[in-house]
Amino acid sequence: MLHYDFDWTIVARPQFVNLVVDGLGRTMALAAISGALSFVLGALMAAARLSPSAVVRTPANALVEVVRNVPSLFWILFFYFVLPELMPAPIGKALHEWPSYAFVSGVLGLSIDNGAYLSDILRNGMAKIPKGQREAAASCGMSVWQECVWVLCPQSLRMMMPAIANRMVHNFKNTSLCIAIALPELTWATQQIESITFKGLEVTAVSTLTYAAGSLLIAFVLSRLSARQTAASTRARRNEEPCDGCR
């Protein structure tokens, strides 16, 4: 029977702690930047897909379909290995030599993948708002932008928040794919420690718990945001007695 001696002191050794903390920081940065960028991309793609013009709508729909039907890992590899080759030689060379290019590739790959899914969520959320709300806003003389900011988005965001939170958690977990381009994030750090110490179980246990804690934290923060938004929208105005249903 295979015998394995657990040595939990490994996870407390300063050089490994530094590696894990450094990796975790990069993972969080990847998740935060790609999360924000994917939201912007998703909103743009959703707006294009809701456009009455087929010239705008069709390419946007095609792009989303292509992105969604290709593995997330492919996009990270594409931006890291393929894109510099497609560029003019000096630019490609500069990209290869740029120390942060692995991080940028990771951000771009994760963003385009997550953005495609978010565009679906945002588009469906907007489409669920009753037509009468748009008509009332137009009837009041609001511009399309005002209608979107003051009428459609506040209502649809509340409905979409759970689905957006799911995607953001997914995006956080997908950062581990960046190990494929040797980006020193959390999974890469785990692998490094394992290859040095041959004590994979302890380190993997720590990174597993870290991923779980990170995912739960993101879900918690977004659910709090969602709850705050709901509370704000149902909160009675200052100095006024709210109705029972609005409490």
């Binding site: 009753p130 008509e135 009837s139 609001m142």
Partner: protein
């Protein structure tokens, strides 16, 4: 103020509007009657730029609504429309429903918009409902909040689609008085209603929409009209201006 010329609109293979002509002057109250499905709401929506028409033209407050690409947005809130299903903004309380467009479209300050919003709510007997969301208002309350939202924009034209459908007789009288104030303020008003008594009380002119065309009902009205409510008379001192509110 409203000028519809030979308006045609086809819906579901049927000519809902087949050459409808209509003119409403400043301060005039026109009641539009007709059976369900005759196209009354379609005509109101077309006047407000929400429903494109197939042929003809609609001009409102010297602005061409159809044919035009801008539709309702081109009118910039000059037309207030009370929708049949109210269409209140569900995420906002009653006061915010009223204040949103004046603040965003007319650029009125928050304090001024709220002052005016509260006055309108008080006019309509809803002063204690300012903080309530539409989901916690009754049908009649929603209807009055929707009306206040229209009035807050100080429109030149009001389109009221079944304004008394959710109201009891006392509230209906309140709406009659309010329509009288609109007349005093020179607002051109078109009212779609099935409530004959209400129609007789408020109308300057009544027309019926039959087979897509508008037919004047003056004769019918003169035979059946009960005494008009005093507050509808233009310039009546008991009818305080809503525009000044």
């Amino acid at each position: 103020m409203i000028d519809c010329k030979s308006v045609f609109k086809r819906l579901a293979g049927r000519n809902v509007l087949a050459g409808a002509d209509m003119r409403v002057a400043r301060g005039e109250i026109l009641v539009l009657c007709g059976p369900s499905g005759a196209g009354k709401t379609t005509l109101l929506r077309a006047i407000n730029g929400l429903e494109p028409i197939d042929d003809g033209s609609i001009t409102v407050a010297d602005q061409l609504v159809w044919p035009s690409r801008k539709g309702a947005r081109g009118l910039k809130g000059k037309v207030g429309m009370l929708f049949q299903h109210f269409n209140l903004f569900e995420h906002l309380c009653a006061l915010d429903n009223i204040c949103l467009a004046p603040r965003q479209v007319l650029g009125i300050s928050k304090v001024e918009a709220e002052r005016r919003g509260r006055e309108l709510l008080a006019h309509l007997g809803l002063e204690d409902k300012a903080a309530h969301h539409p989901s916690h208002l009754s049908g009649g309350e929603k209807q009055r909040v929707a009306l206040a939202r229209c009035l807050a924009m100080q429109p030149a034209v009001m389109l009221l689609d079944e304004p008394t459908s959710a109201l009891d007789p006392a509230r209906t009288t309140q709406i009659v008085e309010l329509v009288g104030r609109l007349k005093s303020d020179n607002v051109a008003t078109v009212i779609v209603t099935h409530d004959q008594q209400f129609a007789y009380r408020v109308a300057d002119r009544m027309v019926s929409l039959n087979s897509g065309r508008l037919v004047d009902l003056e004769h019918e009205r003169s035979c059946c009209e009960p005494a008009a409510h005093p507050s509808r008379r233009a310039g009546d001192s008991r009818a305080p201006s809503l525009q000044a509110a």
